[in-house]
Symmetry: C2
Subunit: 331 residues, 2 copies
DNA sequence: CGGTATATGCTGATATCGAGCATAAGCGGA
DNA sequence: TCCGCTTATGCTCGATATCAGCATATACCG
C-alpha cells in the first residue's frame, strides 16, 4: 500500500492538549541523531457486534516490533510483525501517527530516542497464537465511557461527570468547564463519538486514568490501562476509524462477505458506539449503491428473513476518493 | 495551536495507486534496525492571492533536517530546523506522513534506511535568509494543472488529457480510463480539488513528470520538478490543506489579523485552486460566526469599501473539534 | 391464529446547498 | 452633477439531504 491518497493521506497534528502526552525525546548529548523506529498496530475486528482490538501480554500492550532493513517498506514491516506475532493476515492498513516515544527514550538512550510509527489495520477475527499471548479484547474494556449504544450514559453521569466537575472547579476560569462540555457532550453540547482521543487526554490531564503521572485522589476510572502510550494510540485508532466510516466504505473490511443490512448496521454501531436510525441507515446505504443483494436470505434473524447483501467492490474504484457516506445518524 | 484534534488527529491510508512510490527500504543485512529520521516541512503561506511554499536550493527541495536528541519532540525539532534555515517562525503545524525514503536508503545504508516524517506548516510570508537559498514559490509552479481559478482548463484539455488518453489506451481494460476520468474529472466526472496527490501519482505512473522512472516519449509536463519524493510530499501537503480548509478554520493562519471577506475568499480560492460563489461564501462564513467586524473599513477595494473583519479566536475552543465548514462552493 | 420480532417502504418537517437577482456605496470622468 | 464601473452586501428560490416517525410485510412460535 502506498503511503497515502488525497484527503486521507495522513492527518496529524500537534496540539495543546496533546502536548502533555507530546512525543518527546529525552535530552541527550544534543546533536546525535535519533535511533530506532518501532511499528505499532491497532488491529481491529468486529465480532458478534463487538468492536475488538488485538492486544498482547495480558491485554496491556499493542502488537509492535522494530522496523528492520529486511522490510521493504514500513507497511510491509508492520504486516510481517503482526503476522508473525498473531499468525493472522492483515487486510486494510493505514498509517496513524508518528511520535518520539517518551517511555522508551530512556531505555534506548544508547541508540537515541525511539520513533514509533502507529498504524490502524482492519481484519476479521481469527484464531491467534504467539509467544506474546495475543488476544482480542473488546475495545470498550479500555474505554467504557465510549460505548453509548444503549443510550447508557450512566457511567458518565454518575462517575465521570462529577469527577470532571471537581477537576474543572480547581481553576476559576471557565476554560476547563467548557472543554469538558465540548468534549464529553455536557451542558447541552452534543456528543461527538470521534473525540475519543480528546476525551482520553482530558481524563489523563485530570488524573483520572491509571496512566496519568499525577493521579487524582479518586483513583483511576474503570477501564483497562496499557503500557506507555498504548492506550493513547488505541484511542487515536478508534477515533480515526469512527471518523472514517462516515465517508469511506471501510466497514466492509470488517464484515463477512455477505451480510444483512442489520448486521452492517450493528457493525457500524459497534464502531461508532452509538445507535443509529434503522430506516435512514438503510436508505443511505441503498441509495449509495454500496451493496448489492446476493439473492439469498438469512432466516435466522428471529423475525422476517433478511435479504443478504454483498459489498460492491466496484465502488472502491468508482469512489476511490470522492465521498461515500455511511452516516451515523442517531437512532 | 491546540485546536486540531480528534477526527483530525491523523489520517492515513494505503492504496493501490500509491504502490509505485511506495516507501521502501533498500535491502541490507536484513535484521538490522532502521537508522536516522528526517523531518521535512511543507511550509505554506498565501501572499497577494497566491499560495506559496517555501523551497530551498533553487526551488528543488523542501526544507528538512535530521531529528536530533536535543529536540524535545518531533514538532519542536521541525520548528527548530525550519527556523534556523529560514529565520522565520512557524505557526500552525501538523504531521503529514512518515515513510522510509527510497532515495536516501542507499546513501545512508551505513545507518540503515532513512525515515522521513513530513509536516504541513502554515504561516505568513516574511523575509527569508539562509545558506540554502530559501525562497517562496507559488505552488502552481510545481502543479500548473491544479490552478483552475480562472476556470482555465486549457492545459488539461489541450496537453494533459490527450497524453493521458494515450496512456489509458495502452491497455484495453477500461480501468485506466476510469481512473483518469475520476481523478482528473474527465468524462463528465466532477473535479475534486483535493485529489492533488492522486493526480500527481497518476501522471508519475504515466511517465509524464520529470521524476518518473520510465518517462513517456512526450517528455515531462510543464511544472517544476523536485528532488526525490519532495514534489510528492508537496502534493500531499496541498491535498491535506485543501481538504482541511473545508471543515476547520485553518485559513486564518494564512491571513493578516484583519481582512475583508473578499480577501478571505481569495485566500480560500488560492488554496482550493477554484473560484467560489461569492454570496454563498459570505453566507457560510457569517452564519458560522467565524469572524467579527472590527468596525473599520478598507477603502482600497476599487469599489464600495469593504468591512474589515477579524477571526474570532474563541471558535478555536468552541469548536476545537466539531465541524466548521469553510465551504468551497463553485463560483 | 394471535403475539412477537425483524424487514422494508414511505412521508413530512427542517436544514443546507447552489445559483442567481437586486440593491448599496464607493470612484473617476463626462 | 450624473453616469458608468467596481466591489459590497442582502435576499430569494428551487433542488437535495437529513431527521424522526408511521405503516406495512413476512417470518417464527406457541
Amino acid at each position: 500500500m502506498g503511503w497515502g491518497k488525497g484527503k486521507d493521506v495522513a492527518r496529524g497534528e500537534g496540539g495543546k492538549a496533546g502536548r502533555l502526552h507530546e512525543d518527546r525525546a529525552a535530552g541527550g548529548d544534543g546533536s546525535r541523531q535519533a535511533g530506532t523506529a518501532d511499528l505499532i498496530a491497532v488491529l481491529v475486528a468486529v465480532t458478534e457486534g463487538e468492536p475488538r482490538v488485538l492486544a498482547i501480554r495480558g491485554g496491556g500492550s499493542l502488537p509492535s516490533g522494530p522496523f528492520q532493513l529486511r522490510h521493504h517498506s514500513l507497511q510491509s514491516g508492520l504486516r510481517a510483525w503482526v503476522e508473525s506475532q498473531t499468525h493472522h493476515p492483515l487486510g486494510y492498513v493505514e498509517q496513524l501517527y508518528t511520535f518520539a516515544d517518551a517511555a522508551r527514550a530512556g531505555a534506548a538512550a544508547a541508540d537515541g530516542p525511539a520513533i514509533s510509527i502507529s498504524y490502524l489495520a482492519l481484519t476479521r477475527e481469527g484464531p491467534t497464537a504467539g509467544a506474546d499471548e495475543p488476544e482480542w479484547h473488546t475495545w470498550y474494556e479500555y474505554f467504557p465511557w465510549e460505548d453509548r449504544r444503549d443510550g447508557g450514559v450512566a457511567l458518565l453521569d454518575e462517575l465521570i461527570a462529577p469527577l470532571l466537575e471537581a477537576w474543572a472547579g480547581e481553576q476559576d476560569t471557565p476554560a476547563r468547564r467548557r472543554r469538558v462540555a465540548l468534549v464529553f457532550g455536557r451542558d447541552g453540547m452534543p456528543w461527538h463519538e470521534e473525540l475519543v482521543l480528546q476525551r482520553y487526554e482530558l481524563l489523563w490531564e485530570a488524573g483520572l486514568v491509571a496512566e496519568s503521572r499525577h493521579r487524582a485522589g479518586a483513583g483511576p476510572l474503570p477501564g483497562l490501562a496499557m503500557v506507555g502510550d498504548h492506550r493513547r494510540i488505541l484511542a487515536t485508532g478508534i477515533a480515526r476509524l469512527r471518523a472514517k466510516i462516515k465517508y469511506r466504505p471501510v466497514v466492509f473490511e470488517l464484515l463477512a462477505p455477505t451480510f444483512t443490512l442489520l448486521e452492517l448496521q450493528r457493525c457500524v454501531e459497534a464502531i461508532a458506539g452509538r445507535a443509529v436510525h434503522k430506516q435512514n441507515f438503510r436508505r443511505l446505504i441503498e441509495q449509495q449503491e454500496l451493496v448489492e443483494p446476493t439473492g439469498a436470505v438469512a432466516r435466522e434473524t428471529g423475525g422476517r428473513p433478511a435479504k443478504l447483501f454483498r459489498f460492491r467492490r466496484a465502488v472502491l474504484e468508482e469512489r476511490a476518493v470522492a465521498g461515500t457516506r455511511v452516516g451515523v445518524t442517531r437512532g
